[in-house]
């Protein structure tokens, strides 16, 4: 086990508390920075796409993993961000302004969804956000004068002060930078006063209110932050697609995002990123097996959805803490080797049983 050496409370508030963290995160950053030099064009694009998914997953994680509010409508928030960004750019707004503006616009829509659904939770909230997602898809498909209907909208190429970001390498770095910024901002927010209020709402709304958390305000704020971040991801997603149509932001995308946060591990930002890697890489894995397995062995349609469902069930059954939980366990195994106990991460449940009869 490692213990940080702390002489001041400020030491405990640092981003990286251990010396080894500097090494591991530094190494990760170095690898990500040189990746374009070693990776082929196709795979570089795929990695950039995973970054975009990871940004959206961080957005959903803030809402579902930290505030405990379920959303089946985040595909629609992604869409709102993508269309807002594409429309702003089409009207001559420069990229650096359009991307945050798309985030703000999506955050506003997030408030519009979050506020009326304040009293809902669990399944009811899932249904309400699902309805929202259907409405958005419908509006995007039918408001032809604005969105181009089902034919869609061609997205302008991104540039930064006249310097094109449309190339694979440039776009990769752009997505990496935005992801790093978003993760950092989310991490800071979630470990300060606001983030603790979110977590309190997730674990006990009654206690949260008793300690002064304005439930309506913070739930709405969580929706705004979550939608805003997802909207920024939407803006980048629009560039990735090049041409956006309403189908790209339907229920399937929402489900993919939910899969990311559950598989990654609810309540952890690292989980959001791991989940995005997992879900983002899945199509490549399927394609690989299609190539190596005999023809006709894998069905051509519906395979992904079935796999998603199966994976979701398996994780919920065997690793509710998700990939992040797995990661923590493996780390603990190495740190405490050979003293690791299998029960280290098991919850003490015994008291609960007696409690039930009181």
């Amino acid at each position: 086990m490692r213990f940080p050496f702390i002489t001041e409370y400020r030491d405990d508030l640092r981003l990286l508390r251990y010396r080894s963290d500097w090494w591991s995160y530094g190494a990760l950053l170095a690898v990500l920075l040189v990746l374009p030099a070693v990776l082929g064009r196709f795979y570089l694009g795929e990695v950039a796409f995973i970054f975009v998914l990871a940004i959206a997953a961080v957005g959903l994680m803030t809402l579902t993993g930290f505030t405990g509010l379920v959303s089946l409508g985040h595909g629609a928030f992604l869409g709102v961000g993508a269309y807002a960004h594409a429309l702003l750019m089409a009207n001559g707004v420069p990229f650096v302004v359009a991307l945050p503006a798309a985030g703000v616009a999506t955050a506003a829509i997030g408030v519009a969804v979050g506020f009326p659904t304040l009293r809902l939770s669990g399944l009811y909230l899932a249904i309400a956000t699902l309805a929202f997602s259907v409405i958005v898809e419908h509006v995007l498909g039918h408001w032809r004068s604005l969105t181009g209907g089902f034919l869609g909208l061609t997205v302008q190429r991104p540039d930064l002060f006249g310097w094109s970001l449309a190339g694979r390498t440039e776009f990769y770095y752009l997505c990496l930078a935005v992801l790093a910024g978003v993760v950092l901002a989310a991490r800071n927010l979630l470990r300060s006063e606001t983030g603790r209020a979110f977590i309190a709402l997730r674990d006990s709304e009654t206690a949260a209110a008793a300690f002064g958390v304005n439930v309506a305000w913070y739930k709405t704020l969580a929706f705004a932050v979550s939608a805003g971040v997802t909207g920024i991801a939407g803006g980048l997603y629009a560039h990735k697609l090049g041409h956006i149509t309403p189908e790209a932001f339907g229920l399937f995308t929402s489900l993919e995002l939910v899969l990311m946060v559950v598989v990654g591990g609810l309540g952890s930002l690292r989980g959001a990123v791991l989940g995005a890697i997992f879900v983002g890489a899945l199509p490549q894995v399927i394609a690989f097996f299609r190539d190596v397995l005999p023809k006709g062995f894998l069905p051509t349609t519906g395979l992904e959805l079935t796999l998603y469902g199966g994976i979701l069930v398996l994780f919920l059954l065997f690793e509710p803490d998700g990939l992040n939980g797995r990661w923590l366990k493996i780390k603990a195994l190495f740190q405490t080797f050979p003293l690791y106990r299998r029960r280290t991460f098991q919850r003490t449940k015994t008291y609960m049983r007696s409690e039930r009869y009181r």
Partner: protein, 254 residues
């Protein structure tokens, strides 16, 4: 430290008249215990004071402030903290984070300052941490500091809830059956801690408790509720000998 005055409080849930015209007052710095058989309405008094429900009639005054119509999240800022009979902890957060959340009423930085970790946000964090550590030290919770609450044994969870309430720096503290489910050793510690909080911090305390030993040890005054009504009021010794109180308890037991 503030007192509490409840006048003519009544509330019913459907057909159940949980409280009927209950009036009492707590002086600043006093420890008042509310006892009574199960279902007497003790927790309901706390729920009304912390504004989880609306009263049908009556007024509640904390210090010189009428809190009868405040929103439930405004109660913390008045300086009232409470614990819950059935534990309402933030189970999937650490003990430290549970304590830090209790500082919400004292929050001082903006969302933007928090995202950018501006000096104002950092100062706030350090200040909250300092307060939380003082409570951790007072309750000897050091070894649980970074443990997830859900992993703690029951007694420790009870203590964390008490500690969390204290982190608010309350002027009035409502403890709902803090001794329930504790072993004798933990119970003795608890009696000491309740008295200690009042003596050192001067906090006004209202205690709901079934353990008459504990009640006798720490309270200045005892209030007996039965079937939603005030039955008796007095010092612990007087209450223990009150025939009406004995009858109520024996009656409830049969």
């Amino acid at each position: 430290m503030i007192g509490l005055a409840v006048r003519g409080l009544s509330v019913s849930f459907g057909g159940v008249r949980a409280l009927r015209d209950v009036s009492f007052a707590v002086a600043p710095g006093e420890i008042l215990s509310i006892v009574g058989p199960n279902g007497a309405g003790k927790t309901t008094v706390f729920n009304l004071v912390s504004r989880l429900f609306d009263a049908d009639a009556g007024t509640i005054t904390a210090g010189d402030r009428d809190i009868t119509y405040l929103a439930r999240h405004e109660i913390a800022a008045v300086g009232i903290a409470r614990t819950f009979q059935n534990l309402e902890l933030f189970d999937h957060a650490s003990v430290l984070d549970n304590l830090l959340l209790a500082r919400h009423a004292h929050r001082q930085s903006t969302v933007v300052a928090q995202i950018l970790r501006l000096p104002s946000a950092m100062r706030a964090e350090v200040e909250h941490r300092l307060r939380a550590e003082q409570v951790i030290e007072r309750f000897e919770l050091e070894r649980f500091r970074s443990a997830t609450v859900a992993n703690l044994p029951y007694g420790a969870r009870k203590l964390v809830e008490f500690a969390r309430a204290l982190c608010l720096e309350p002027k009035l503290l409502l403890l709902d059956e803090p001794a329930a489910g504790l072993n004798p050793e933990e119970r003795a510690d608890l009696a000491f801690r309740i008295a200690d909080v009042r003596d050192e911090l001067g906090t006004t305390i209202v205690l709901v408790e079934h353990d008459m030993g504990l009640v006798g040890e720490v309270s200045d005054r005892v209030l007996v509720l039965n079937d939603g009504q005030l039955l008796a009021e007095g010092t612990p010794d007087v209450i223990r000998r009150d025939p009406a109180v004995i009858a109520a308890y024996l009656g409830a037991a049969t």
